[in-house]
């Protein structure tokens, strides 16, 4: 089965590719900002899905990789004048390396114990970074305005950041598909269904889980660096928001966990909904409650998510909606 022959591989990629291309051609600042937020959510939700959807391990603190990777990348960018490419890769590599170390220990825990440990790691990392002087402590770091000059000023730098994010999102989606359709991915899904049985059948569960964790941590590190580069500053409160972790979980659930297209659909739907609720006069003050209600209804009645539901209902569409 070659990936490039399958419709399910190309569908999410083409959507993001054409979308990003359109934004780059229109060259409008508002369109870019909207697309930046949405693509960031797509990237974060899809990388979380590699762990959550395929392996079945709930990481409540996945944003820690976004935060720590973003901090590292931003540190090299602002303090050592690294280029955006090098520093975002550094952020990704640090996140991935950390996930490897942490994963070897924490992934021995199963189910709710693992979920609790990830919350603990996120809070510990936030508290640690607030006290860590090289990262600026509680006030965080700022990018020197002159750093934008190598990209032709602050305006074009934002477009560079967007292009980088666009490429990273494409990479996440492609990785997600390739993982799902590899032997390795099958092993992960076996772990999700029954870890003990999978081990008996020869799946090396500890390694497989750790690799999945590493992959799902690599991309948030890159995305974090790009996001903070765009913002121009980074501080602990922004970088480790527990609710962002949970929002990505909601996006994955909304679209359908364990599918390639699902997290993307979920991220776009959730952000669209949030935007609508925040601006509508009736729901403005109640947007969080409405979002909670929708989440509750999904969990109770459509646990497979939108894409999962369609796949279950219309088997013929399965080849297209991976």
């Amino acid at each position: 089965m070659q990936a490039w022959r399958q419709a399910g591989f190309w569908l999410p990629l083409m959507i993001v590719f054409l979308w990003g291309l359109a934004v780059l051609l229109i060259r409008q600042d508002t369109a870019r900002e909207t697309a930046f937020t949405l693509l960031m959510c797509v990237g974060l939700a899809s990388s979380l899905n590699i762990l959550l959807g395929y392996t079945g391990y709930v990481s409540f603190g996945h944003i820690v990789f976004f935060g720590l990777g973003g901090y590292t990348g931003f540190y090299f960018l602002s303090q050592h004048n690294w280029s955006l490419l090098a520093s975002s890769l550094a952020g990704g590599v640090l996140s991935a390396g950390l996930a490897g170390l942490v994963g070897l220990a924490v992934l021995r825990l199963r189910g709710a114990y693992f979920a609790l440990a990830t919350i603990g790691i996120n809070e510990a990392a936030r508290a640690f970074v607030s006290n860590f002087e090289p990262f600026g402590g509680a006030t965080g770091l700022f990018v020197n305005f002159s750093a934008y000059e190598q990209y032709g000023g602050a305006g074009p730098a934002l477009w560079t950041a967007f292009t980088f994010l666009w490429v990273s999102t494409l990479a996440v989606l492609a990785t997600s598909f390739l993982v799902k359709h590899s032997r390795f991915g099958l092993g992960l899904m076996a772990i999700r269904e029954d870890e003990d049985a999978a081990m008996v059948m020869g799946v090396k569960a500890p390694q497989a889980k750790t690799i999945a964790y590493v992959i799902s941590a690599f991309f948030p590190g890159i995305i974090g660096t790009l996001y903070f580069f765009k913002n121009g500053n980074v501080e602990p409160g922004d970088a480790f928001q527990l609710h962002m972790s949970i929002e990505s979980l909601v996006m994955v659930m909304l679209g359908g966990q364990g599918t390639v297209l699902g997290p993307m659909v979920g991220a776009i739907t959730y952000q669209g909904l949030r935007g609508y609720l925040l601006t509508s006069p009736i729901f403005k003050s109640l947007h969080l409650a409405v979002a909670g209600l929708i989440l509750l209804l999904i969990v109770l009645f459509v646990p497979a998510g939108a894409v999962g539901w369609v796949r279950g209902r219309f088997p013929r569409w399965r080849r297209v909606l991976e």
Binding site: V58, V106, A117, I121, A127, N131
Partner: protein
């Protein structure tokens, strides 16, 4: 050093009792149905606001109001269990985590709309006692006493009454308990109600000495996780000891390093205990 250590440690320990009550609710729910109740924090905040409303609008003594808050917490627990938890009890962990988190979002959302996020406080000073070098605010002492009484009552309930024994039986083995004629759905609802009741009461106690907002439950929820793991997940009585341990640490650490390092140590210890002894320092129940 010692002059600083003693008051700080006492303060921490007294707070620890109240933390313990909050964590007891979380631990009880985990022990009976292996559900991590992510709506715990907002329920604590609702307990604070219920006490506040009864005190400022009806002039009820805040400690008397706790009785009403307890009843309210119990009913709220029945409601949350019936609407959000019962249906997904046997589904994978993700479902119960997300369902209770959805309840969390709903409560915070409605609460923010109603109460805004500006701080409130209950102005009910009881003076303070001086014992040697220590100055103890009486509200803290009363809260500590309340925590001890609540723990004692919970122990008596779980070990010497029929519904309490049924709760322990369901926690031990739900199917076997059902075969013995215990209506497990009702017992599960009762346990969830007890858990949220403890959360609401602890909120009421905290409200008597700290100002609070609708978001204030969050930090106590996180502390409750740490305490539950220290005291043994699912061991409600161990939670009080876990609370004392955490309170003691919070009192002890600031004398050795800056206060801002406290969460690093707390959550670091939390992850470490989870890794080394997932059943908790004091053993699971």
């Amino acid at each position: 050093m010692l002059a600083q250590l003693l008051p700080s440690l006492t303060d921490g320990l007294l707070l620890g009792f109240v933390y313990g009550v909050a964590a007891m609710g979380l631990s009880l729910i985990w022990g009976v149905m292996t559900v991590i109740n992510l709506s715990h924090g907002p329920v604590i905040a609702l307990g604070m606001f219920a006490t506040y409303l009864l005190f400022t609008h009806l002039g009820v003594n805040p400690y008397l109001a706790l009785v009403a808050v307890a009843a309210f917490g119990m009913l709220l627990g029945f409601l949350i269990y019936g609407v959000a938890v019962h249906r997904v009890l046997n589904a994978p962990h993700l479902s119960t985590l997300l369902a209770t988190f959805a309840v969390n979002m709903i409560i915070i959302g409605v609460g923010t709309a109603v109460f805004t996020t500006s701080p409130h406080n209950i102005d009910f000073p009881l003076g303070s006692w001086e014992i040697g070098p220590l100055t103890l605010p009486a509200t803290r002492l009363v809260a500590t006493l309340g925590a001890v009484v609540i723990t004692g009552a919970l122990y008596l309930f779980l070990y010497f009454t029929r519904p309490g024994k049924a709760i322990r039986a369901v926690a031990n083995n739900r199917q076997a308990a059902e075969l013995m004629g215990i209506p497990s759905a009702r017992i599960l609802a009762l346990s969830f109600g007890l858990g949220t009741m403890l959360a609401a009461v602890s909120g009421g106690l905290i409200a008597t000495f700290f100002p609070f907002t609708i978001l204030s439950g969050g930090p106590y929820e996180l502390k409750s996780f740490v305490i539950c793991v220290l005291g043994g997940l699912g061991n409600p009585l161990g939670a009080l000891l876990g609370g004392l341990l955490l309170g003691g640490l919070e009192g002890l650490i600031p004398t050795f390093m800056p206060v801002s390092w406290v969460p690093v140590v707390e959550f670091g210890l939390f992850v470490l205990v989870l890794l080394v002894r997932p059943s908790g320092l004091l053993g699971a129940k």
